[in-house]
Each structure stands twice: as C-alpha cells, then as structure tokens.
C-alpha cells in the first residue's frame, strides 16, 4: 500500500518535471528551402510565420509587425456589436491583460471583423466599456479584406453571414504568437479552463529564448 502511494507520487512529480520542460508546438505548414552549407546543397524547412500587417488601433496609433517584434502576443477576432460570444471572450481576455499588464513583452491584438462599422471612435468606446485604458491591448480596425486575409493566415475562421447574430461569424479562438511571429497555441476564448492553459503556456513562451 505504502509503496503504491510512493510510486504514484513519484510518477506525478516526474510527469510534472516533463511538463515543465515541454515545448509548445509550432503550427502551420513548413516551407522547404535549399541553401548552400559548406559548399553543399542542403534542404532546410522553415517554420510558418505570419505575413506583415498594418492596422490602426483605438488611439489612432498605427499597429504593425514592428509593434509586436520581439514580443509575444495573443490575438483574437471580434466586433463591437457582436451579441454572441464576444462579451465572454472579452471577460476572459481581461484575465490575460490583468496578469501581464506590467509586462512589456506581452501584447494583445483584437481585430475587428466588422471594420467598416468599427471606427477608431467606436473601438475607443468599447475599450472604455471594458473599464481599461491600455497601451498593451490594441483593438484594431482597417481594410476589411486585409483583416479577413489575415484571419485566414492565423488559420482561424471569420466570415460575413447575414443570417448569423450580428451578421458575422467567427470562432472564439485566442491565438498565441511567439517573438518570431510563429503560431504557438490555440485556445477557446469562451472556456475558462482553456484560457487557464493559455496563461500557463504564455509563461512557458516568455521563458523561451529569442535567439535571432
């Protein structure tokens, strides 16, 4: 009996230790490139990285690829008149914001998929409704096609659908992106457990070295 308990405890500790060192996956298709190394042709595979982007946030600031350069960030897609899952997603994203609000290495990007209606002023009002003023959490608007194109590149779904509540459909994913613009995690932004997982994986990602 004692032995069983001991073994179980040790097993759990060992498992924890493994967990501790585990690395987060890198999502997206890799591309093969040929390069010359020591005069020989070798084939290397490159990780999928997000394409450059540029939008405007609730304070009329330009937010682009260099805003997040060398930082980790969480992205999601929403719109201010969204009646369905967005309030819950915001409530969960506030947890992310509260945990890392003093951390200069962490950014949050919330892209509006209804950018025509979601003007800078509307996004500002939305931010105020959330009870925050934050230089770290950007609510983004801009060219509609660019936003849908980018959603696609984040490997999430977003589309216009007049029959859906609010006229748009999107999944409630939170996407974790690393310092190099690589996709490192997907979480259900309407689910508390999933967001807890995000918070712990952000800690892991923050410890990852930025060797470039």
């Amino acid at each position: 009996m004692r032995k069983t308990v001991l073994i179980t405890v040790l097993f759990c500790i060992a498992l924890q230790a493994c967990n501790w060192q585990s690395n987060l996956p890198v999502y997206g298709p890799k591309t093969a490139v040929t390069k010359t190394e020591n005069g020989k042709q070798v084939i290397d595979s490159l990780d999928y990285v997000l394409p450059p982007f540029q939008f405007v946030d609730q304070d009329s600031n330009v937010v682009n690829t260099s805003t997040v350069k060398g930082k980790i960030y969480v992205a999601d897609f929403f719109f201010t008149s969204c009646p369905s899952i967005c309030p819950k997603m915001m409530k969960e994203m506030l947890l992310v914001r509260d945990k890392y609000k003093d951390n200069k290495d962490v950014v949050i990007l919330s892209y509006s998929i209804d950018p025509v209606r979601d003007s800078v002023a509307r996004l500002k009002i939305y931010e105020t409704k959330l009870g925050i003023t934050s230089a770290q959490w950007h609510f983004l608007t801009g060219n509609k096609d660019s936003i849908y194109y980018l959603a696609n590149k984040y490997l999430v779904s977003a589309s216009e659908d007049p029959s859906a509540p609010g006229g748009h459909i999107h999944d409630g994913n939170f996407i974790l992106v690393d310092r190099k613009g690589r996709l490192r995690g997907y979480y259900d932004g309407t689910n508390e457990q999933s967001v807890q997982k995000l918070l712990s994986e952000m800690d892991i990602l923050l410890k990852e070295k930025n060797n470039e």
Partner: protein
C-alpha cells in the same frame, strides 16, 4: 426472529432510510437543481456571469437589477425577441444588443422564477400561461 418479523423490520426502517440516503445523495451531488438554474447556467451565465454579476459595461448585472425589477412584465419579451435598446442598470447605460434565446414558455417561466429568487429577491412565482400572455403583447 421469524422471517416475517425481519421483513417487517426492513419495511419499517431500512427502506425509508435507504430512500432518505438516496435523496440526500442526489441533493448533495447537485443532480436535482432548480430547472431555471440549469437553464441559466447553460444559456445566460456566459454573458451575465454565474452570480449575475455581468461583464464590465458590456453586459449588465442581474444581481439586484433595478431595471429588471421595474420591468418584470417585459422580461418574457426580452428573452424571446432579444434587447435592441439601451438599458440602464444601477445608473449605468448599457447598449450592446442581447440576442433572442430559443426557449419555450416553460423554460422562460423557470428561468424567470430562478432570477426572481436568486437575483431580484422578489417573491413571485410566474407560470407558463403568464409567459404566453406577455408574449402576446410584445412590441
């Protein structure tokens, strides 16, 4: 003891005890909960919060909502057709839309009774007939 007496004994004490234990068990494990509570948890709590606390200035609280108390008769319509006008709860203006819930008159009565008891502290039971009556006059 004769077998007859044993049987009598079981019938008199054991069976009621088992039944009581059974009911207690179900209760303490929460299998039997107010049907309105189950519905609220499934369909309303993601926005209004499990304790009816709301989300910042996006979703109004239900906890002691003065607005809901003043407009109790409109709640069936709000649930059936959604809310597309600003509401003022505890002196704060909210104007995000609430979309319609797809619930029938029995579920609507259940969830209203749950809110009356839990959030509005208002001692009134409504029934499905009342809900149907209110639905006739929705604007």
């Amino acid at each position: 003891m004769s077998s007859k007496k044993i049987l009598q004994f079981i019938a008199r004490f054991a069976i009621p005890i088992i039944i009581i234990l059974f009911i207690y068990n179900i209760y303490s494990h929460g299998t039997i909960i107010h049907p309105g509570k189950a519905l609220f948890k499934a369909q309303c709590s993601q926005c209004h919060g499990e304790d009816g606390e709301g989300i910042k200035a996006l979703v109004p609280p239900l906890q002691n909502s003065d607005y809901a108390l003043r407009n109790l008769d409109s709640i069936p319509c709000w649930l059936k057709f959604g809310i597309n006008h600003p509401v003022i709860v505890h002196d704060t203006v909210y104007d995000q839309p609430m979309y319609p819930s797809e619930i029938d008159e029995v579920q609507t009565a259940n969830v209203i009774n749950f809110m009356n008891r839990e959030f509005f502290k208002y001692d009134r039971e409504v029934n499905p007939e009342w809900v149907k009556e209110k639905w006739k006059n929705c604007k």
